[in-house]
């Protein structure tokens, strides 16, 4: 089972809650995913729509709430959001993301590391969203983060595990869990990440914008389980030359 910062998770699929067509579909998708780690964002209350409250459908006793710092452009903004999230009662868990460029939403490594050091000092369980940079992952690990979350491809692109080689290096080196986050657009992408030894994946857009989010949530859950099972079973070696799967002897009867 997966353990992060002393908390054990049965499911290795973490679910983001953005862009679902309705609160009801979100709730059913969470159930179908089996996820026990649910991300949320923090935003100003829309005073014109006070009833629009996601907490009405999220059962805090069933899931770990992982608030993100989305929208933060530097370390100071991320730290401010983190403190607000904790005051909002989500506990100490935090998905640290610092994305100064709204066009690419790629994370700023320098500001992310600076914010991580401060937030670890303040007692947060920090899960930083990072580019698939093995050196940065090690520095964050040394800073005391609870896990690292390298991206597969940019947020919301559904382009899959474009960073596979670097993620493999991160997994080989990491002492903390590795959660592949962002860009996983299909269950096969999630399975691939799990097959190479990721400890978990975080998926949002691929599920929330699917034709049927509830069924897609289940599809991802199955893929994550299959990928993990394959990793633990041990994949056979790859090769560029054919290797017969049927015996090459005992063919005398046709020769």
């Amino acid at each position: 089972m997966l353990t992060i910062a002393g908390h054990t998770f049965r499911s290795r699929l973490f679910l983001g809650t953005g862009k679902f067509p309705s609160a009801e579909i979100l709730q059913r998708s969470i159930e179908a995913s089996g996820s026990e780690m649910i991300t949320v964002a923090l935003r100003r209350v829309d005073l014109g729509d006070p009833a629009d409250d996601i907490m009405a459908v999220l059962d805090r006793n069933k899931y770990v709430l992982l608030p993100n710092t989305s929208g933060a452009r530097d370390a100071a903004e991320a730290i401010r959001i983190a403190r607000l999230a904790r005051a909002a009662g989500s506990g100490d868990w935090l998905k640290l993301e610092v994305t100064p460029d709204p066009r690419t939403l790629l994370p700023d490594p320098v500001e992310t590391l600076a914010a991580a050091k401060e937030l670890v000092r303040e007692g947060f369980k920090v899960l930083p969203y990072i580019n698939a940079d093995p050196i940065l992952a090690l520095k964050l690990q040394d800073a005391g983060v609870a896990a690292v979350m390298p991206l597969g491809s940019p947020i919301g692109t559904n382009m899959g595990l474009q960073t596979r080689m670097q993620v493999e290096i991160i997994i080989a080196q990491a002492q903390v869990p590795v959660v592949v986050d962002a860009g996983l657009g299909a269950p096969s992408h999630a399975a691939e990440a799990m097959e190479i030894g990721a400890d978990a994946v975080l998926v949002n857009t691929a599920i929330s914008v699917a034709g049927d989010p509830v069924r897609m949530a289940r599809a991802f859950a199955l893929a994550v389980e299959a990928g993990r099972e394959a990793y633990e079973a041990g994949l056979g070696p790859q090769g560029k030359e054919a290797a017969a799967s049927s015996p090459t002897t005992g063919l005398d009867f046709i020769k």
Partner: protein, 68 residues
């Protein structure tokens, strides 16, 4: 004399001496699902009942929304 405060960037008129908790309820919100920052400082939830808003207070009310 009614009191005016700035809440989430908008001017709101309310009664003098209102507690943060009552102000949040008057907006149609559940205090337990809202985090408040007044004049740049986070107000702890257990203090909402005793925290009194003042004229020209700059209040930010924030809550969780869907996000990845």
């Amino acid at each position: 004399m009614p009191m005016k405060i700035i809440c989430n960037g908008k001017e709101k008129v309310t009664r003098p001496g209102i507690s943060l908790n009552d102000f949040i309820i008057d907006l149609g919100l559940r205090p337990e699902n809202v985090v408040a920052e007044c004049n740049g400082t986070i107000v702890k939830r257990e203090e909402y009942n005793t925290y009194l808003l003042k004229d020209d207070s700059m209040l930010e009310l924030i809550r969780f929304v869907g996000g990845g």
